[in-house]
Symmetry: C2
Subunit: 227 residues, 2 copies
């Protein structure tokens, strides 16, 4: 079996991809980025999920993302300006974020003689993020291939799935238990706030799939213990 690097964020999609990849690749490495996320709970979730999957996790610092996202630069001769809401994209939008993640992941894979990358990008989710499109992934794979003189395959198992189909896939690949520990809430809360767009999108997927979200089961168990 060939090896792969799976990009991991502690969220629902990357957790599903991790278990999908576990069935197909060996050795499998998980890679997460620390870019000063507002909520450390994301990286903590990634670690718990990788432990459950038995997949080693590497967390690479990638502060350039924070710098490009609009925060003050450290040690710079200039100040990065926050991007406006151009084209209706939110202020937190870092253009081409997945390009950056995958380029770093490809270099990381190269060092390990690995040719396969797995990412939870999804066109259904597209909503203004062009770096999630299949065409982007194909073009980037070609650029990486030429730029490193090294074959790079980018796998996107969720690319054409609805949120409900992603829930079914999670079941098929045995990711449901790990989804108890995944993190989605924009507010960084556990139990999740249930109100933010991320919580609502996740809830809609589970509802459409007719399944209970394992994360909410865990939250509810904790509430019961607590009460």
């Amino acid at each position: 079996m060939a090896g792969a690097v799976c990009l991991t964020s502690g969220g629902q999609d990357s957790t599903t991809c991790l278990f999908w990849a576990k069935q197909r690749f060996d050795p499998l490495c998980a890679l997460a980025f620390d870019y000063g996320q507002r909520h450390r709970i994301e990286l903590e979730a990634a670690q718990v999920i990788c432990d459950l999957a038995g997949v080693p996790l590497t967390v690479l610092p990638l502060m350039i993302l924070r710098d490009l996202g609009g925060s003050a630069l450290i040690g710079s001769h200039d100040t990065i300006q926050a991007s406006g809401a151009r084209d209706g994209l939110p202020n937190t939008f870092v253009p081409g974020r997945n390009l950056l993640f995958l380029t770093v992941a490809a270099a990381f894979a190269y060092q390990r003689d690995i040719h396969h990358l797995v990412i939870g990008a999804c066109e259904t989710d597209y909503s203004g993020y062009p770096d999630c499109r299949e065409q982007t992934m194909l073009a980037l794979a070609k650029a990486l291939d030429l730029g490193m003189d090294y074959a790079v395959h980018i796998h996107t198992p969720l690319m054409h799935l609805s949120k409900a189909q992603t829930v079914f896939l999670a079941q098929d690949v045995g990711a449901m238990e790990a989804l108890r520990y995944s993190h989605t809430c924009y507010e960084g809360r556990f139990p999740p706030c249930g109100m933010c767009p991320a919580c609502q999108l996740r809830a809609r997927g589970f509802t459409e799939a007719g399944r209970v979200d394992p994360l909410l089961q865990r939250a509810s168990a904790r509430r019961t213990e607590g009460g």
Copy 2:
């Protein structure tokens, strides 16, 4: 005139590109990366040269490059292993380095409504570095374009020039004075060591062009003052 971002390292090639770009783009921004270079003299040279050119310089920290290059990781759950001398490439080789530089530069340009990037990549220099090839640049421009939904043009004025032709171009675009302050020596020395491969490649270009290297003139003036 359209605006551009010129990648700048303080070296001969990027200095020539900066002055080439100055004749063609407005506004022009210079962008350098601080990735824990062994020699701070490179970033100092970039600053002096940008001051001479009257072009604002932004230095972005990009420590991921150091991490990927084989040094110990900070705050990671893993240790990056130094890449071996695979395919005859030296140990300091970071695969796809220009891909990473250009992807960050593209995001930086996006924030400023700039569509043109300038880089001193050169196929003549190729010598094992696939991320300097024209085909790589074309593929990456397409990936950036799709991934940011934003037109990106990558200009490589030195792509097909010999080292001697690059010297002539530097003359044509008025970069010779600034080349006094450019840095090339792998040993990080001024006056340059003259012995390392970088010094020797630079010397060969000036010799073939029948010109005196302004950097050596400056070094020799300093020696005369000193003696």
